[in-house]
């Protein structure tokens, strides 16, 4: 067993444990953040080192080390590092539990890296639970009524979703007799199911799987938890949820559906169509309900439901594509990277501005352009990117994912998606207008820690870079899209 292959995961686990232990000894808790960042950097380093390795499975085909998994092992530590940098402003509110905070975040990241490498139903479930349980605790970290309520809602709904997921896995196992994804695909092909009516067990399992994972990625109609949980959680965790947890969900859906359920063609077109319809409704619902929102975190929550709709469009593309084309997967991976920097940038700016305004209401953002011009500019850039206006990452990501959808025959869905982008412009630009146009309610500059500003800068550079010079990003996504099928 070559332990180097799972070195990134081991380093994350070691860092998490060491953070908890160190918390007992050191007085200045700021060092815990530094230590976590160091651990993430080491994990990132190991991933870079493993980039050239041949794709192979480990742990008896439970996990796989291929470019797809390594892509996410590059993405998640970066997202987590940015979230930790952004959390520095919140540390005053969670004084005595800082060690636990960092450890839980790191464990959740560990779960995410594991799930992107999971190739067996059991390992998928274990990794999913690792992510979810850490997040349940993190959502309730502020201990005020709203935060606790959000955490409870997330826990209950998440537990139900996990149960449904497990039930779906049971059906798939019952139908095929295997839990390893590659073997499931082989059994399905060997049995030779000519149509949906002869594979009702499999279809039921698939539907339940879609429900279970749909909860995680905020797909309609499983998105009801999103606004309340996003609003109640501490904003860095909201950012983490909206970006990383979603990316993890998409990673596993991509791998699961591509590896296990791509054959026969009618099957992949079936679930492709299901995802296409979910995407269309999700985008529309997310965008339309975001319009009347007055709380910025809720607005961004609904916006992330809409953005999830665009991502699900990528999954639908994968369902309709011939097996040789990886356009659906690569466009989705590029969108995830672009969406990550954009949404993180938006939330980090919200952390800074909300802290000073001491409110999450959009109307309290009046005149932020005068009080905190740099941060307001960063938020404007991220909102423009979310709308999909060039030259930002959001536009490139949308262009790429829409072009892949058109090429696989989903023009109707792309037209719905572009119209939705227009609708979204209304509520994104409303925030921009409030910041730059209205007079500030209170005077005084908005202060924020250096760490937060560094994180914001990195996000903005990412948004502009992916928007103007997306070539390397697209190439990386294309390489990563090749999943190793055992």
């Amino acid at each position: 067993m070559n332990l180097v292959l799972i070195a990134p995961e081991i380093s994350l686990l070691a860092t998490a444990i060491l953070v908890i232990v160190l918390d007992l000894f050191i007085r200045r808790k700021g060092w815990l953040a530094v230590f976590s960042l160091a651990g993430l950097a080491i994990s990132f380093g190991f991933t870079v080192y493993l980039w050239g390795v041949n794709p192979q499975t480990v742990f008896n085909n439970m996990l796989v080390v291929d470019k797809f998994a390594l892509f996410f092992k590059l993405l998640f530590p970066v997202i987590t590092a940015l979230v930790i940098l952004a959390s520095t402003d919140y540390m005053s509110r969670i004084d005595s539990f800082q060690g636990e905070y960092y450890a839980l975040v790191l464990l959740s990241t560990l779960g995410m890296t594991l799930i992107s490498a999971a190739t067996d139903l059991i390992s998928i479930f274990v990794a999913l639970e690792l992510i979810s349980i850490s997040l349940y605790a993190l959502v309730g970290f502020l201990k005020d009524p709203k935060s606790s309520e959000a955490s409870l809602k997330y826990l209950l709904l998440g537990a139900i979703a996990s149960a449904i997921l497990l039930y779906g896995m049971a059906f798939v196992f019952g139908f095929t007799g295997k839990t390893q994804l590659g073997e499931i695909s082989q059994v399905i092909q060997r049995i030779g199911v000519p149509g949906a009516s002869s594979a009702s067990g499999l279809m039921l399992g698939l539907v339940l799987l879609i429900v279970g994972f749909g909860f995680k990625i905020a797909a309609f109609p499983f998105q009801m938890w999103v606004p309340d949980v996003y609003e109640g959680a501490p904003t860095p965790i909201t950012a983490y949820l909206s970006v990383a947890s979603k990316a993890a969900g998409f990673a596993i859906i991509l791998r699961l559906f591509y590896t296990a359920f791509s054959f026969p063609t009618w099957l992949s077109q079936d679930w492709g169509m299901v995802f296409a319809v979910l995407a269309a409704i999700g985008m529309t619902v997310g965008n339309i309900v975001a319009i009347p929102q007055t709380n910025i975190k809720r607005m961004l929550a609904y916006s992330s439901i809409a953005q999830a709709g665009y991502l699900i469009l990528g999954i639908a593309t994968m369902g309709f594509s011939p097996i040789v084309s990886r356009l659906g997967q690569s466009s989705l991976l590029f969108f995830l990277a672009g969406y990550a920097v954009t949404n993180l940038g938006a939330f980090i700016a919200v952390i800074a501005l909300s802290n000073k305004a001491e409110s999450d209401r959009i109307s309290d953002y009046d005149g932020m352009g005068k009080r905190a011009p740099m941060i307001a500019l960063a938020l404007t850039l991220c909102l423009v990117s979310l709308t999909g206006i060039p030259p930002t990452a959001g536009f490139m990501a949308k262009f790429y994912i829409f072009s892949s959808a058109v090429q696989h025959g989903l023009l109707w869905l792309v037209i719905i998606a572009v119209l939705n982008s227009v609708v979204s412009a209304y509520y994104y630009l409303r925030v921009v207008k409030v910041m730059w146009f209205n007079e500030p309610k209170f005077e005084g500059k908005v202060s924020s820690s250096a760490a937060l500003r560094i994180a914001l800068l990195i996000c903005c550079v990412g948004v502009v870079l992916l928007g103007v010079l997306p070539n390397y990003g697209i190439k990386l996504a294309e390489i990563a899209a090749k999943m190793f099928v055992f």
């Binding site: 023009l411 792309v414 982008s421 630009l429 207008k433 730059w436 010079l469 070539n471």
Partner: protein, 496 residues
């Protein structure tokens, strides 16, 4: 030209915008001088390019000043810019307007830093649209202008500025959404993003996956919102009226032309058969633009709103010219775009001076200003003559060529549409003369005694406008020779 003159012209204003963004708001004079320099240099370079442009017939269909660099190899997108007979006049028009609006904005004192930064960024984006030869690059430049316009109208405008700004953005994005869908279909069909290449190969040489009619109308949707074509025109009066003067000049002068340019460059060049098939419908819409636009103009009571509606009418001439699909009419349409840019630009600028000096924009409350502000009266009258299409001004040449071409067009019903459209000239004379009579002529009113006349700067830029209007009007060949070599390959493709 050995060095990359086009990129220099396109990106110098953006560089200026970044420099201005770093200067504090209190140093307004410095900001304005930097803005002037960073728009004057591109103008000088543009004029140099104009005189270096090869007008010989052998250059028909050849892009000059081309620059091509690999940008996103994986989807075949290049940073590809160049100018031909159609885009050079429009490019130069924006180049000129870019400098003139900085002069027009000289009196801005609210947040000058942001104002000039957005204004210069706007110039880069519009210049980029006219110079782009790669469809993705074209779209990106097309979209970039939305954000500067949003800020410029909503902060420095008047009246219902926030409403108008948001309306402008949403309409434009809606059009762009349609255009994006069309571009994606086009890319899917041709696997190429090179505008000129696709047009030359002919759309018929590719395997059709999406019907060409669908692609044509999706792309046309974006351009139709911009031009604007009835019934997508309702954003224009609000945006023009509530925008600050300089922004109205850019909007009327250059932004509307992006629509017309797109129609020629993409819709007609790439889909000539569909264009010919659906031309009667578009000619009908053009006539609606002209007549309905002129009719509504007649009942306006606000100076800027009147000029805005007249733009709708004038853009109807452009649409008429483009979709008559003959050499003469399309050259006329391009001439109309350039000429209207200058004439309506001057109209808006002068209306802005009148509004600023008299503090009044309602026509009913103005009157008899000729006695008190004679210089402005003269300038406005000359601009009005141009808008009416009086011979000697560029407006006449443009309208005459358009009608000549459309009357002789082989498109079904073109003759009838042309005859109806000529009524538009009559109505144009109506609203312009009536406007002049009500605002400037008639008995002078005491409350306007002591109104300031045009100062030196205003006289300078008005003179530049007027000289150009008359130069083109008296010797149109300096432009038509250039436009001709751009249009002739397209007419060749249409086969008309």
């Amino acid at each position: 030209m050995n060095f990359n003159i086009l990129s220099l012209i396109i990106f110098l204003p953006a560089l200026g915008a970044i420099i201005i963004a770093c200067i504090s708001n209190s140093r307004a004079k410095l900001i304005k001088y930097i803005a002037a320099i960073f728009t004057l240099i591109p103008l000088i370079l543009g004029v140099i390019a104009f005189f270096n442009f090869d007008k010989s017939a052998s250059m028909a269909g050849v892009m000059q000043f081309q620059e091509k660099a690999s940008w996103i190899p994986l989807i075949g997108a290049y940073y590809h810019v160049g100018l031909d007979g159609i885009s050079l006049p429009l490019f130069l028009l924006m180049d000129l307007l870019g400098f003139l609006v900085v002069l027009i904005s000289w009196k801005i004192d609210l947040r000058p830093r942001e104002y000039f930064a957005w204004l210069l960024l706007l110039e880069t984006s519009i210049l980029g649209v006219f110079a782009s030869l790669d469809i993705l690059l074209f779209f990106i430049f097309w979209e970039i202008e939305v954000i500067p316009m949003f800020f410029l109208i909503s902060i420095w405008g008047a009246g219902r500025k926030e409403y108008s700004a948001l309306k402008y953005v949403l309409y434009t994005l809606f059009g762009s959404a349609m255009m994006l869908a069309g571009i994606l279909c086009l890319y899917f069909t041709t696997h190429s993003l090179d505008m000129v290449q696709i047009a030359q190969n002919g759309i018929g040489s590719y395997v059709m996956v999406v019907p060409t009619v669908l692609m044509f109308f999706l792309l046309l949707g974006g351009f139709a919102v911009k031009l604007p074509v009835f019934p997508f025109h309702t954003w224009l009066p609000d945006a023009h009226t509530d925008a600050p003067t300089a922004v109205s000049v850019v909007l009327a002068g250059a932004l509307l032309k992006m629509g017309g340019y797109g129609m020629i460059r993409i819709c007609v060049s790439i889909f000539p058969a569909v264009a010919r098939q659906w031309a009667p419908l578009l000619l009908g819409l053009a006539v609606v633009n002209i007549i309905y636009g002129a009719a509504v103009t007649l009942k306006q009571t606000d100076i800027k709103r009147l000029i805005a509606y007249s733009s709708i009418s004038h853009m109807g001439f452009v649409l008429l010219g483009i979709f008559s699909l003959t050499q003469v009419s399309m050259v006329g349409a391009t001439m109309q775009m350039v000429s209207h840019g200058l004439i309506t630009g001057l109209l808006f600028a002068t209306a802005g001076i009148v509004m600023h000096n008299t503090h009044e924009r309602d026509i009913a409350k103005l009157g008899g200003l000729a006695r008190q502000i004679p210089m402005i009266t003269v300038i406005f009258t000359i601009a009005g003559l141009g808008a009416m299409g009086v011979p000697g001004t560029s407006g006449f040449i443009a309208e005459f060529m358009t009608f000549l071409g459309s009357f002789g067009s082989s498109v079904a019903g073109a003759r009838v549409f042309t005859i109806i459209a000529i009524l538009g000239i009559l109505m144009g004379a109506g609203y312009i003369l009536w406007l002049l009579q009500r605002v400037f002529y008639g008995p002078p009113q005491d409350k306007f005694n002591g109104t300031q006349d045009a100062d030196k700067l205003e006289r300078v830029y008005s003179a530049i406008f007027i000289i150009l209007i008359f130069t083109i009007g008296l010797d149109p060949s300096i432009l038509t020779n250039i436009i001709k070599i751009g249009i002739s390959p397209i007419v060749h493709l249409i086969g008309g």
